[in-house]
């Protein structure tokens, strides 16, 4: 803990970073995002199992940054979002001072203690506890045995359904949607200045929370995430209605990986999946 504080304090006093986006504990003992601007502020920075937020969501607003580096505290899953944003030209690597933290999992329900039943799905199949690259690394991890990945089982179950059953399953899920767009706001990869759902001439997606509008919105959101989602599971965490949104994004990630051998947010220089093509792409479904 002291190590993270020390790193941030040094970075701010040595002007390695203009400010640091990190986490602090508020007076209700909740962990929330916090921007430390001075070495004194850095005293409040913290990290533990309750630091669920993906702070990369704040980065695209510094696209035209000219003033100096932006410090950011990242877990390995969040770092993938940072990499993806660099890949998509939303932020420059040179503008960032990345403080990686070793993470051993974050909570699903922030009101409860971290334990086997209170772990985010992404942590259950997380491959990298340590971020693959960083400017400074703080070690906060503790040994912890992860429970089984139950989402993969649910996904296999859906794969076995007939198409009508699947449509019924998703209809029942999307019916809950209240169109609050929390999934969009919290997503680090949803940075369009004007979202397609807000375009009104012509209006592509019904903005009212009807079955039809919900269906279109969720399909299009999932498609815009196809091959771009880095799997931070923030959409599902933010969803007030508990729609299993990550089922869709994870499935699309699996398709991208099986069809094209591509994983987003893994390389700073590789072209994006949709931004390029190959003449040998599979076309057995095209007559």
């Amino acid at each position: 803990m002291n190590e993270l504080k020390q790193i941030c304090k040094d970075a701010l006093s040595e002007k390695k970073a203009r400010f640091i986006i990190g986490y602090k504990e508020d007076k209700n003992k909740r962990i929330k995002p916090f921007i430390a601007k001075t070495p004194e502020d850095a005293e409040q920075l913290t990290f533990n199992h309750h630091a669920v937020n993906n702070l990369a969501v704040y980065l695209p607003r510094f696209k035209n940054n000219v003033e100096g580096k932006i410090g950011i505290v990242v877990k390995s899953c969040d770092l993938k979002a940072v990499t993806a944003l660099i890949q998509e030209n939303q932020i420059k690597r040179d503008d960032l001072f990345i403080i990686g933290v070793n993470c051993s999992g974050v909570v699903l329900d922030i009101a409860k203690e971290f334990n086997k039943d209170n772990t985010q799905i992404k942590c259950k199949y997380c491959q990298a506890k340590t971020p693959p690259y960083y400017d400074a690394l703080a070690d906060e991890s503790k040994d912890f045995e992860m429970p089984d990945d139950d989402q993969a089982e649910l996904m296999a179950k859906i794969d076995k359904m007939t198409s009508d059953e699947r449509l019924e399953f998703w209809n029942a899920e999307f019916e809950k949607c209240i169109k609050c767009y929390a999934c969009r706001q919290v997503c680090p990869m949803c940075y369009c200045e004007k979202c397609i759902v807000e375009k009104s001439e012509p209006q592509w997606i019904d903005t009212s929370s009807t079955a039809r509008g919900n269906f279109s919105w969720n399909i299009i959101r999932a498609f815009h995430m196809a091959g771009r989602c880095i799997g931070c599971h923030e959409c599902e965490r933010a969803c007030p209605m508990g729609i299993p949104l990550t089922l869709l994004t994870r499935k699309m990630g699996m398709v991208a990986s099986s069809e094209f051998g591509y994983r987003h947010g893994m390389s700073l220089t590789e072209p994006t999946l949709i931004g390029t093509y190959s003449t040998s792409d599979k076309e057995d479904f095209i007559k």
């Binding site: 198409s163 019904d206 999932a222 094209f260 093509y277």
Partner: protein, 156 residues
């Protein structure tokens, strides 16, 4: 007597190949069924997946997308970009439950009038056999507001 179901097919076709191919089918006086509504787009790369969703919303029972053969694109690479997008979108729709019996893809060049007729007839027959897209049509109904209705407030 029950009326025979006639499917509505929205066909998104590229201006340079399939639209011209369909035109050739017409000028060659080839007979084809009239259920497909052709929507001409500059290139298959222009087809945003939201178009396909919009077509289903507006009552299409099936969607057919067709463009130039790989390598023949008027804009060199439009159909390659489109193909990559379709692979992802097709898998997504499959996972959601709109399977390949509603969504068709083909390459038809400007000289393939006969191939176009065969494909359109094939798609129409397949969708006719599958029946109307009831699940999507059901969604078009507005959600009712029972509380307001009870109080005698008129709800549109």
């Amino acid at each position: 007597m029950e009326e025979k179901f006639e499917p509505k097919i929205a066909a998104f076709v590229c201006n340079w190949c399939t639209y011209t191919g369909a035109d050739l089918a017409g000028t060659s006086r080839l007979k084809q069924e009239a259920n497909a509504r052709l929507i001409r787009v500059p290139c298959t790369g222009r087809i945003d997946p939201v178009f396909i969703i919009k077509a289903f919303e507006n009552g299409a029972d099936g969607v057919l997308i067709s463009g130039c053969h790989p390598g023949d694109c008027h804009y060199n690479a439009g159909n390659f970009h489109a193909r990559r997008r379709w692979i992802l979108f097709k898998n997504l729709l499959d996972f959601i439950g709109i399977d390949s019996s509603r969504l068709y893809f083909s390459w038809v060049s400007a000289s393939e009038g006969k191939k176009w007729v065969d494909i359109v007839d094939g798609v129409i027959d397949a969708v006719r056999a599958k029946g109307p897209f009831k699940q999507y049509k059901k969604m078009n109904k507005e959600i009712e507001i029972p509380v307001a209705a009870e109080e005698g407030v008129s709800v549109k």
